[in-house]
Amino acid sequence: MRVERLLSPLPGLLVLAALLLGLEWAVDAGLIRRALMPAPSTIALRLWDLLEAGDVWAPMMQTLRLVFTGFAIGSAIGIAAGLAMGWWPAVFRLLEPLVELIRPIPKSALVPPLMLFLGIGFTMKVTSVALVVTFPVLVNTLQGVRGVDRVMLDAARTHGWPARHTLLHLVLPAALPLVLAGMRISLGLAMVLAVLSEMLAGEGGLGFLILDMQRSFRVRDMYAWLVILAVLGLALNWLFVLAERRALHWQRR
């Protein structure tokens, strides 16, 4: 049983290793031009240099700060608006047309107008990240609130719970599985918008570096930064799943 669990990711890892070896071979054999795609081993060496020189941390922290801040603001707005819209029909009627209008717009298209208003600094980038995070969280929270069991709400009523207490201690935790599912979707989108707005703003961060390296024909560096970005995304998602599992420990049945 234990051995099986340890072995279960093996086939997938083997496919990855085969792909990397194949790439290495294809570049060596001249099937892929080095100018477009250096051999994975040289990318790894470049990556090692970057790590050793300590050049990785500043851009990574810059992007991380952007993702975290935007994710936090967007999630807070999404949860608050979703709760309010799900709980008070009047708020729903007030905000629903606005939400339905902005929701389908690809948020990447809003970065250029945001740059007009907010410039190319942190504010603009955080705003675009927060914007893309808000809607999946909002929609899921709204659904979660509407799905709260009526029996549970009646239990709160028969025990004399005030509305505020019910909202915070019953509706919110009951909706939490859906809220967190929305946040997980939003985390991926936050990475996308962070990288994109960094590219468009040109003020540093992983997104900016990837584009900058490509423009200055430093292809090896471009791929090295790409790998760093991928690892970052993987780590964030992994951390989130871990936190989610902790928060929803009671769901194991």
Binding site: M152, A155, G160, H165, H169, W250
Partner: protein
């Protein structure tokens, strides 16, 4: 003294286009202070609707509901509703102790509510289970948690909606004895809704029999069996058998028609 009084209570639901559907037609009944009343009726006859109106969870279309001398317009602090579906009324993300603290935390704060949860947990035989989660307990134990939660509120009256219908037969007998014990020790007033004839006779001082929809009161019977009631001996008492015969006869006759 009359503790709960329903006077000509009628319930109608709007239908699409047509005139409203009347599901309950001028039902009048009362529960004396300290009395155990069972409301007996076939499934779908609107027993739960009646109980929810008594609890202030559902407004009546017309007629009046009075509890402890006041008109009921919202859930009154004197009465707590115990739900049939314990698995839906307990909070799955809370431990047993925190589910019982549910009853008082908005008044006492979380910490003191937790302390106050120990006594009712003991009373329903669940001391030592405070840190468990509902999904770790059997159905019967979950309903005990729900009863402990109701008791923690310190109510004068319990409104019980088929509280034992979702557990197995032996557990049901257990829980019935538990409720009888709590009722007499705490001098509670109880209105219990059920479709189980034997349960009604076993527990109640008086039985109100309801008709099918639109619901009206078919008859009222005094049980007149000695207390304390025993899960085995009481069920063999001549009066028990007589009542059982009479009530089943009535319910079955109406069921066929």
């Amino acid at each position: 003294m009359r503790f709960l009084e329903l006077d000509e209570v009628t319930k109608e639901y709007p239908t699409r286009g047509g005139k409203p559907a009347r599901v309950m037609d001028r039902v009048s009944l009362s529960v004396e202070e300290g009395e155990f009343l069972a409301v007996l009726g076939p499934s779908g006859c609107g027993k739960s609707t009646l109980l929810q109106m008594a609890a202030g969870l559902l407004p009546a279309t017309s007629g009046s509901v009075r509890l402890a001398g006041r008109a009921v317009t919202a859930p009154p602090p004197e009465a707590v509703y115990v739900f049939q579906q314990y698995s839906r009324s307990l909070l799955p993300w809370r431990s047993v102790r925190d589910n019982v603290a549910f009853a008082t935390e908005h008044r006492l704060g979380r910490r003191r509510a937790r302390e106050a949860a120990e006594e009712p947990l003991k009373q329903v035989g669940l001391d030592g289970f405070g840190d468990h989660f509902p999904w770790q307990l059997s159905g019967g134990m979950q309903q005990r948690v729900a009863i402990a939660r109701a008791l923690a509120a310190g109510p004068a009256m319990l409104l019980m909606d088929e509280p034992f219908s979702a557990v197995d037969a032996l557990t049901r007998l257990d829980l019935q004895s538990l409720v009888l014990d709590i009722w007499s020790r705490r001098r509670l007033t109880i209105m219990l809704v059920t479709h189980d004839v034997e349960e009604a006779i076993q527990l109640a001082d008086r039985i109100v029999v309801l008709t099918n929809r639109p619901t009206t009161v078919a008859e009222e019977i005094k049980v007149a069996l000695p207390r304390p009631r025993d899960p085995i001996a009481t069920r063999e008492h001549p009066r028990f058998l007589e009542l059982r015969h009479h009530l089943l006869d009535k319910l079955l006759a109406r069921h066929a028609g």
